[in-house]
């Protein structure tokens, strides 16, 4: 298919997943903010719950440019939900998703487009006040539901062609990235020292981390135990039966790339294979010994590189001058 069309589908998919992830993250933050939480020590302001959605996405600087010296739930919500200038806001993500879809209407089914268009039309009418009145949790549930619905319509109506594969690829790339970020930031907010790994922990805070990736119930089913940081890391990194874990996502990503490559050798597939193997054969203790933060940072870097390679291999990004395009065919 047309490289640009594949690119639009891939990013449309990432946009929707990002919107869902933001909704999830903000919902948990919001719910947690209704409970009393411990006072932060000096130098730990970044760990303040309302700062975490910003820090996680590398948006702290952008946020403080908008709201200098002012971290309030209200401002963070506005920034992360409705700000059109913030590319990670739910508003901006849905707008971008719809624009991407509109650019390649021929590549998706009419039901998919209508569904997404409808979501956008509704989002466009919302104001902060209307969301507040309706209830933030209601709104976040709505966003999650729209994402599920779009995925359902896609799964139910779309031809299993390359376009479909790129849509799935976008979802899993974004999801894996998101899980790694949440884990990194939350883990460190809640566990500043690696010595604390085996110790007593705040049930509610760790529960919140798990809920933000819809893995709370999964944890209880798998471990039937109190929450421990090491098991949380294992669940979200290595277990491939948890849909939002890095391993589960990487399973899909690797398989999709293998299918897309078919017989040809492509760098993106090779890199995905490498990443997949590390997750498939990894052990939790190794990760802890290496340093969870370091591990996750490496993973995120590798994902950024993989994103680039996918662009070069399939999505029309030029690696070399024009005539080389013909030679490598």
């Amino acid at each position: 298919m047309l490289a640009r069309a594949a690119n639009n589908l891939y990013w449309m998919s990432r946009d929707i997943e990002r919107a869902e992830n933001s909704a999830r993250m903000l919902d948990v933050t919001y719910r947690m903010s209704l409970l009393p939480y411990r006072v932060l020590e000096e130098g730990q302001e970044w760990a303040e719950p309302w700062a975490l959605p910003l820090v996680m996405n590398g948006l702290a600087t952008a946020y403080y440019a908008r709201y200098p010296g002012n971290l309030t739930p209200d401002s963070v919500m506005r920034f992360m939900v409705l700000d059109p200038a913030n590319p990670a806001s739910i508003y901006a993500c849905l707008q971008s998703a719809r624009e991407n879809a509109r650019s390649v209407r021929g590549a998706i089914t009419s039901e998919m487009y209508e569904d997404l268009n409808e979501v956008w039309l509704q989002m466009r009418e919302m104001t902060y006040e209307s969301i507040q009145e309706r209830g933030f949790s209601e709104f976040f549930d709505w966003v999650k539901l729209q994402s599920h619905q779009f995925r359902g319509v896609t799964f139910g109506t779309m031809l299993r062609d390359e376009g479909y594969q790129f849509i799935r690829l976008g979802t899993f790339m974004e999801r894996a990235d998101n899980t790694a970020r949440i884990l990194d930031v939350k883990y460190h907010a809640l566990l500043p020292s690696v010595d604390d790994v085996g110790g007593a922990v705040d049930y509610y805070q760790w529960g919140a981390l798990l809920r933000s990736v819809s893995a709370f119930d999964a944890y209880r089913k798998v471990y039937r135990d109190i929450i421990t940081p090491m098991k949380v890391a294992e669940l979200l990194i290595l277990r491939d039966d948890v849909p939002r874990s890095m391993h589960a996502c990487m399973n899909e990503i690797y398989e999709i790339l293998r299918e897309l490559c078919d017989d040809s050798q492509k760098e993106s597939e090779r890199q995905a294979g490498e990443l997949h193997a590390r997750l498939h054969y990894g052990r939790t203790q190794q990760i802890i010994d290496h340093g969870l933060h370091e591990y996750l940072m490496e993973f995120l870097d590798a994902m950024a590189t993989l994103t680039q390679e996918i662009s070069f291999d399939f999505l029309g990004k030029a690696r070399e001058p024009l005539t080389a395009e013909l030679e490598t065919g």
């Binding site: 298919m1 047309l2 490289a3 640009r4 069309a5 594949a6 624009e99 509109r102 650019s103 390649v104 209407r105 021929g106 009419s110 487009y113 209508e114 268009n117 409808e118 390359e162 790129f166 897309l260 040809s264 399939f314 999505l315 029309g316 024009l322 005539t323 395009e325 013909l326 490598t328 065919g329």
Partner: protein, 479 residues
């Protein structure tokens, strides 16, 4: 529903549905009977349904210069416009004839220029015409077809009296609305399609695709056809996407294509793929920054060179604008006689060419009664409808004309037929025109009907969507 409840039927215009006594014409009898039995709430509900569905489908277009936003829905009116089979035969035969002559004309002026030699058209009309492409001289196009897709604008002033208002031979649009309107009507009123045999139109894209494949460069077994669009911010983007999807071809933008060694390729997920035929919805000027406007970002570098080498076919060909230029329009009946040795089936509207002194004098003296258009305009922009203009508008336009008379033509205000339309005040007559689409390949064909455009504002004669017009489904009865 009482059709006369909203006032007299304006008998001085031909009403396509009702005669002077309020009785429906024969070809509308069935529909009129059905309509009169429907309560107004039912029709209102259906109109609302149509509007919602169109919005949800995203069947929109952008109006240049409109501040309210990027997209708008084209208003669709749920009362169909029915054409008698006998009338359609005349229109259809007339359009085919016209297109054969126009294609012959284009082939001629880009080769031997016999029609100029024969003294029928003055050389300056062609050679000095801004839209004549000297680069096309001597280039042979597959099957000698220049205009693969044409939209001929026709008005009806009486039951058997038609005029061709203008020819659209560059990038005519609107066919997607024709097709979507039919689908919408079938969805809203399936019973109407059971009751009557309305000639189907959904084979349009099949015929078009066949024609496009047939004009691929020689020797290509399975040609790759693509549709080249300026992009999603173009006012007709919905149509580009729709047509590409219906034909099962890729919708590409300039950035997706590249030319190497005079061969055209598109960028796919698995590398470059050769392209053989391009249905291009970009104007000549913007097609190739090397050959034409260098500042264009919409085109493909080197595309004209590939075209000249015969390695890629463009539909419509480059340089067709000289034939749909409003000053060339006057000569179309002569073309029919010259190339086909036939009398024109469809009449031209009497046209004054302001480049001629006598015509200019007449027009300036009678401006409030005339319609004046820019010679190279389109979309209804930049025109003057004398009877509807204010004193200020008339004076302003007069100044424009005096400034450059050769840029304008004028025509008498035609008494466009009207068709009942569901407007805010109820059902009322509104002026309509017709744009049938003519497909030329190995044969010249039309799908029955075309796009009916309706001027939604009371008394308005301007039907263009860009100026507030709407559309209707057009029915040609079978048998």
């Amino acid at each position: 529903m009482n059709m006369l409840a909203n006032g007299p039927l304006k008998p001085r215009y031909y009403n396509e549905m009702y005669d002077g006594d309020g009785a429906p014409h024969t070809h509308y009898a069935d529909y009129a009977a059905w309509l009169s039995a429907k309560p107004v709430e039912f029709m209102l509900q259906k109109q609302k349904e149509a509007d919602t569905l169109y919005a949800r489908h995203g069947i929109t277009f952008a109006v240049y210069g409109d501040e309210t936003g990027v997209e708008r829905s084209i208003p669709f009116d749920i009362i169909p416009r029915v054409i008698r089979p006998a009338a359609w035969k005349v229109i259809s035969d007339g359009c085919c004839q016209r297109m054969r002559a126009l294609n012959a004309f284009l082939n001629d002026i880009y080769h031997g220029q016999d029609i100029i030699r024969a003294g029928i058209i003055p050389a300056e009309q062609i050679v000095n015409n801004k839209l004549f492409r000297h680069e096309m001289r001597g280039i042979n196009v597959p099957s000698d077809v220049y205009v693969h897709i044409a939209g001929i604008d026709i008005v009806m002033v009486g039951p058997d009296t038609f005029y061709v208002l203008e020819d659209n031979l560059r990038t005519p649009s609107g066919v997607s609305y024709m097709l979507e309107n039919r689908k919408m009507m079938m969805r809203l009123f399936p019973e109407l399609f059971v009751r009557a045999s309305i000639a189907p139109i959904d084979h349009y894209t099949n015929v078009l695709l066949d024609n496009l494949r047939a004009v691929a460069p020689e020797g290509v077994a399975d040609p790759t056809v693509v549709l080249l669009t300026p992009g999603s911010y173009n006012s007709a983007y919905f149509e580009h996407a729709f047509l590409a999807q219906q034909m099962g071809i890729e919708l590409v933008e300039g950035q997706d294509l590249f030319v190497v060694d005079d061969f055209a390729y598109m960028r796919t997920t698995h590398g470059p793929q050769r392209v053989h035929v391009i249905y291009r919805r970009i104007d000549d000027d913007y097609l190739d920054p090397v050959a034409f406007k260098p500042e264009s970002t919409l085109g493909v570098r080197g595309l004209f060179s590939a075209y000249r080498a015969g390695n890629v076919t463009l539909a419509n060909a480059i340089g067709t604008g000289v034939a749909d230029d409003k000053s060339t329009y006057k000569y179309v009946p002569d073309m029919i006689r010259f190339y086909l040795n036939q009398e024109p089936i469809l009449q031209n509207v009497p046209t004054y060419r302001l480049s001629e002194a006598d015509d200019l004098k007449y027009v300036l003296a009678n401006l409030p009664e005339l319609v004046v258009k820019e010679v190279q305009g389109s979309g209804g922009y930049g025109m003057l409808v004398g009877p509807a203009a204010t004193k200020v508008e008339l004076e302003a336009y007069r100044a424009r004309i005096i400034g450059n008379p050769a840029e304008f033509i004028a025509q008498p205000t035609l008494a466009l037929s009207t068709c009942p339309t569901f407007v805010q005040s109820g059902v009322a007559p509104r002026h309509v025109d017709l744009r049938p689409y003519v497909l030329s390949g190995k044969k010249v064909t039309l799908v029955p009907g075309g796009l009916t455009r309706v001027a939604l504002r009371d008394g308005s004669l301007v039907v263009n969507s860009s100026q507030g017009g709407g559309t209707k489904d057009t029915w040609v009865m079978e048998g």
